[in-house]
């Protein structure tokens, strides 16, 4: 028989060294790095918005609404990497239809839908007044284009018939938002903590198996979520300032529109408070990660020999330079050294997001860098240029599409749920 090359799943991007079991490949690749990264951003963004709604951190008022909308935009994307990763993506809905509850993944559908419902209803209460006012304003227009009529009907449907915007009704909305935000915090933490549980409960994997994993994941999730919200908030504020300066767009010409100085002061205040919370969660995340590492080094169980080689030698640059130095220590210094500016904080947030991404990478790919035989290693070479459907979805471009999608959704969502509302429209 003539032997032809037949690549099996994982063979394209796995290079084996020394003794690796024949069936072992890096099966969980870039999309599984993206999965906890994206769910982390969802959960983190929500926690940031809840800081205002639940704990009444007044300084976060504006960024809170922004984060809530952003969290909703990120939500469908949390599922995307999982679907792209499946060898049978069309069967993905089986997880929802026939969940096998001894599996940690099986709860995904339920937790995810619960969380989606909470965020959606919180957004509805938050924006009901806006929906009503928009409907009324459009209805009052004497001459409506067909697009305006369409918009009016669309917003009318969004109000779900609740057109009462008296002070009492708005107060009720406000209370509902607070209750939902309170309920949302544990659910958001659960959504992400259990992503950590998916890894932490794999007893066959010496690097993943630790009960600390869900807690580490939650802390780093909040870190990445807050950092991304700050970054996006600063970026949109810069665009708004630019528009205000140039008197662009309708709203900037409006008399009641905020001036550049007002925008600047609002931005400074919001960033100041948000970055303080970012620091708290960074300290918590780092403490737990280092604790895990020290514990492994101190107890030195059977797997330590190979783990030490992976952590301290082969993946040293990825773990200690890229993740800890550039992703933790440097942004930490940038934020705590005196004379902090918005620009410095923004640079720090970019580094923090990068650091959390590297942490996901080091957990997911690092966990597969050594063989179950403890006698060999596997190297991951991410497919860059998509030459086939597999190299697209399990490669750089698949990951980039996952990363870009929330911003596209956010842009469309912003048309319906504007993240920046004037005070009289908002709570």
């Amino acid at each position: 028989m003539v032997e032809q090359a037949m690549t099996v799943h994982g063979e394209l991007w796995t290079v084996k060294e020394l003794f690796v079991l024949p069936n072992e490949y890096i099966y969980w690749s870039i999309q599984i790095v993206m999965y906890p990264f994206m769910t982390g951003l969802v959960a983190g963004a929500f926690v940031l918005s809840s800081l205002y709604h639940v704990f009444g951190v007044k300084q976060l008022k504006e960024i809170a609404r922004f984060s809530l909308v952003f969290s909703f935009a990120l939500l469908p994307v949390a599922m995307m990497p999982l679907l792209l990763h499946l060898a049978q993506p069309l069967r993905g809905f089986h997880v929802m239809m026939t969940p096998h509850f001894t599996s940690a993944i099986a709860a995904f559908g339920i937790v995810f839908m619960t969380y989606a419902c909470i965020v959606a209803s919180e957004l509805w209460f938050e924006y009901r007044k806006h929906f009503v006012l928009t409907t009324q304003a459009l209805a009052a227009q004497p001459q409506k284009s067909s697009f305006d009529t369409l918009r009016m009907h669309f917003f009318k449907i969004l109000t779900l018939g609740a057109m009462d915007i008296s002070g009492e009704a708005i107060q009720k909305d406000h209370n509902a938002v607070k209750k939902l935000a309170t309920l949302g915090i544990p659910v958001a933490c659960f959504l992400h903590g259990y992503a950590g549980f998916i890894f932490g409960s794999v007893k066959a994997n010496a690097l993943w198996m630790t009960p600390l994993m869900p807690v580490i994941f939650i802390c780093s999730a909040v870190v990445s979520g807050i950092a991304l919200c700050i970054l996006c908030y600063v970026l949109t504020m810069e665009i708004r300032k630019f528009m205000a300066k140039r008197q662009m767009r309708r709203w900037a010409k409006d008399k009641s529109a905020p001036s550049v100085e007002e925008l600047q002061s609002a931005e400074n205040q919001e960033i100041e408070t948000a970055s303080r919370f970012l620091l708290y969660f960074m300290i918590a995340a780092l403490t737990l990660e280092i604790l895990d590492l020290i514990f492994r080094g101190y107890t030195q169980v059977k797997s330590w020999d190979i783990l030490r080689e992976v952590i301290l030698e082969r993946d040293f640059t990825k773990i200690f330079i890229m993740q800890y130095a550039f992703g933790n220590a440097l942004p930490f210094l940038l934020m705590v050294l005196p004379g902090r500016t918005v620009r410095r904080t923004t640079i720090a947030t970019v580094l923090v997001i990068f650091g959390v991404f590297m942490m996901r990478w080091n957990v997911v790919i690092g966990g597969q860098a050594f063989s179950l035989s403890f006698a060999g290693f596997m190297h991951y070479h991410m497919p860059i240029w998509p030459t086939s459907w597999v190299t697209f979805r399990e490669g750089l471009f698949g990951a980039l599409s996952v990363m870009a999608t929330p911003f596209v959704i956010f842009w469309f969502l912003g048309k319906i749920l504007p993240p920046f509302l004037k005070d009289e429209e908002a709570h």
Partner: protein, 258 residues
């Protein structure tokens, strides 16, 4: 019809109908075909007898339609070589489907093949491996859709029509027994040749082994000679620290074998 007759006829009708209805209960296909509590399959591997010919791998791939050109296998053979200067070499080139025809050790893509001076060899042996069909499998536990499951007679199977290909079971298996089938694109693994053993035949690998290094038995049948070996002799299992209770038992298992 009198009321008394009506009652009588009703009772007769119910009694008559209940006989065939209860027969339906008797011939529950699940109970008849699978739920046979008298059978629990187990495997016995005598590492002293294995010479690394690779016939078992060849037979398995042929029987179960796993392509020869694909670098995955439901069963494989590992070679362990210990040198006198205390170095350890392990390999399983192409899952040993062609046997160990070369004395050189396969060190992987970067390092190529290594020659070992025969004078320097301290000890060397072969270890055949396959799915352990664990009594408490972690793979079936983590399947999010229940596509992989354990039969009542102790075999862990995969439903190809239901597997979504998430790979969680592959990650959960401590033995590396699972892989993605290159043609079906779902998870595949050793079935102990379920289609053969349920018909009273041997597995393909047991059948192909020229030195009887591989054997199978019903561990509930205490009169089975293989069961007697497992019960009476000193046998070991791989990686018992994971608590999965493997059902593939080894004679002459070295502690270095993982």
């Amino acid at each position: 019809m009198k009321r008394r007759d009506f009652m009588k006829n009703t009772i007769v009708a119910i009694a008559g109908a209940s006989v065939p209805l209860s027969a339906l209960e008797f011939i529950d296909p699940k109970e008849v075909l699978a739920a046979n509590p008298d059978i629990h399959w187990a495997f016995l591997i005598d590492t002293y007898k294995c010479v690394g010919c690779g016939f078992c791998v060849k037979a398995c791939k042929t029987e179960n339609d796993v392509p020869f050109e694909a670098n995955v296998s439901r069963t494989w053979v590992e070679r362990y070589v210990y040198t006198k200067d205390d170095r350890r070499y392990i390999d399983s080139p192409k899952s040993a489907q062609d046997g160990f025809i070369d004395a050189k050790i396969d060190l992987g893509a970067h390092l190529g093949f290594k020659d070992i001076d025969p004078e320097n060899v301290g000890k060397a042996f072969f270890v055949p491996k396959l799915c352990n069909h664990c009594a408490a499998p972690s793979c079936t536990q983590v399947c999010p859709v229940g596509a992989t499951y354990k039969t009542d007679d102790g075999i862990v199977l995969v439903d190809r029509s239901w597997c979504i290909g998430c790979g969680y079971c592959v990650m959960a298996c401590p033995f590396g027994a699972r892989f993605f089938h290159p043609i079906h694109h779902v998870v595949d693994k050793c079935t102990f040749c379920y289609h053969r053993i349920t018909k009273g035949l041997e597995t393909a690998c047991v059948n192909a082994c020229p030195f009887a290094a591989r054997k199978m038995c019903n561990i509930k049948d205490i009169n089975d000679p293989i069961t007697k070996i497992i019960l009476n002799d000193r046998v070991g299992v791989l990686k018992d620290e994971f608590g999965t209770k493997p059902q593939a038992f080894y004679i002459g298992l070295a502690s270095e074998v993982r």
